[in-house]
């Protein structure tokens, strides 16, 4: 004898429950008091604002490189690299945070980019390096101090971009604010890391990867924590 599936024709519990009148009254009072028009900026504008911040930081690094008389070959390589990575930032912003008119990329794509892009960036920095010290030489004396200085400057400017972008995107993501925050941090880190290739005279492989590249990882991790607070409504 076949037994009937217990889940067939099952009466699931009701989905709706009316809140009490007092609760409804309190909510209505809080949500309609002094209600005025509030039209936030579109996803496209938020994305353009984020990219605008990246361009501003890159422009500052470029100005510094020119004012400090960097060799033109280094500046040229840096400019091409920075423009290339600006394109990557634009793709990241519009593919993962808000494709017009406001859809986000799938979670799988967002996580894959979050893991893959920083590694690709460090790979790029290593690829365009013109020299490489022994690791023991890099960790001592002037190279180590220079790397720490560069890392802090990159972190500062990256945090400025990421902080501004966090404000532009605040309260927009109740679904996965941590991942969105990490992506914003990564975009800020990419702008600053790529810009450091212009401003920094050293094109040594360890220096580029640690001092210019690690800012992307650091800001992505920082962005994850800050995003959970700032991007959730």
């Amino acid at each position: 004898m076949t037994q009937k599936d217990p889940l067939a024709d099952l009466a699931w519990p009701g989905a709706t429950v009316a809140p009490s009148d007092e609760c409804s009254k309190a909510i209505r009072g809080a949500c309609t008091k002094g209600l005025c028009q509030q039209r936030g900026v579109s996803a496209m504008t938020r994305g353009l604002l984020t990219l605008g911040l990246c361009v501003l930081v890159l422009a500052y690094y470029f100005w510094y490189a020119v004012a400090d008389h960097r060799p033109s070959a280094i500046v040229r390589t840096g400019v091409f690299g920075a423009i290339g990575w600006l394109g990557a930032q634009a793709v990241l912003v519009f593919a993962t945070l808000a494709r017009p008119p406001g859809k986000r990329g799938s979670r799988g794509l967002r996580v894959a980019l979050l893991l893959g892009v920083p590694l690709a960036f460090v790979g790029y920095l290593h690829f365009v390096s013109t020299e490489q010290f022994a690791f023991s030489k890099f960790t001592q004396g002037y190279p180590a101090g220079h790397a720490i200085g560069c890392g802090l400057v990159a972190l500062f400017f990256g945090a400025l971009v990421a902080g501004g972008a966090m404000i532009a995107w605040r309260r927009t993501d109740p679904y996965s604010p941590g991942i969105s925050g990490a992506i914003i941090g990564m975009v800020g880190g990419l702008a600053s890391g790529a810009g450091m290739s212009l401003a920094c005279p050293s094109h040594e492989a360890f220096h580029a990867c640690f001092a210019h590249g690690m800012v992307v990882f650091a800001l992505a991790i920082l962005g994850f924590g800050v995003g959970r607070r700032m991007l959730a409504p």
Binding site: P6, P19, I27, Y175, P233
Partner: protein
């Protein structure tokens, strides 16, 4: 939602009438306590009110509101977990836990008990898709996971529910 964002108070009433029973039902299932569910409903609507400027035109409202409600619940639960003692409003000690529920006599009771026995991730996936009425894609957004993961959780949850209800059917 768009008229509410434009500052229309009557539009809020319409929105509240549509959203509040579903959100209240969802929060009540999460908390199993009416007072806490009403507190969380107030917090949720306050957050909706504050974030209305960032609502993206044309986006579905219910998953957006459910995601805010779920996040409010998780925040409140996290805050409660770090408190040493959960005193009532007048400063007295909390009441002792209620006794274990009696054995189910009807299928609906058995289903409630079986749902409570499920792991949280399976229960949430089933509740959002089967009870709250969200699509798989919307439930995946709310839970912050992939559609495949939601389908898998629902499937595994169903298998466990089927076992529990099957044993109930046999005993009755």
């Amino acid at each position: 939602m768009e008229r509410y964002v434009d500052g229309n108070a009557e539009a809020f009433d319409g929105l509240y009438r549509k959203l509040s029973p579903t959100l209240m039902g969802y929060l009540l299932r999460l908390t199993r306590n009416r007072a806490r569910a009403e507190d969380l409903l107030q917090i949720t609507f306050t957050k909706v009110h504050r974030a209305r400027g960032s609502y993206l035109k044309g986006a579905p409202v219910l998953p957006w509101a459910v995601a805010i409600a779920r996040r409010s619940f998780l925040d409140e639960r996290r805050a409660a977990a770090v408190r040493n003692e959960d005193l009532s409003a007048d400063g007295s000690l909390p009441e002792p836990r209620a006794e274990a529920p009696a054995l189910p006599t009807e299928m609906s009771d058995a289903l409630e008990i079986a749902l409570q026995k499920l792991p949280e991730s399976y229960r949430e996936a089933i509740e959002l898709t089967k009870i709250t009425g969200l699509s798989i894609q919307e439930a995946a957004s709310v839970l912050g996971t992939t559609e495949t993961a939601v389908k898998l959780r629902v499937h595994r949850g169903y298998n466990q529910l089927r076992k529990e209800l099957d044993s109930f059917q046999r005993t009755t």
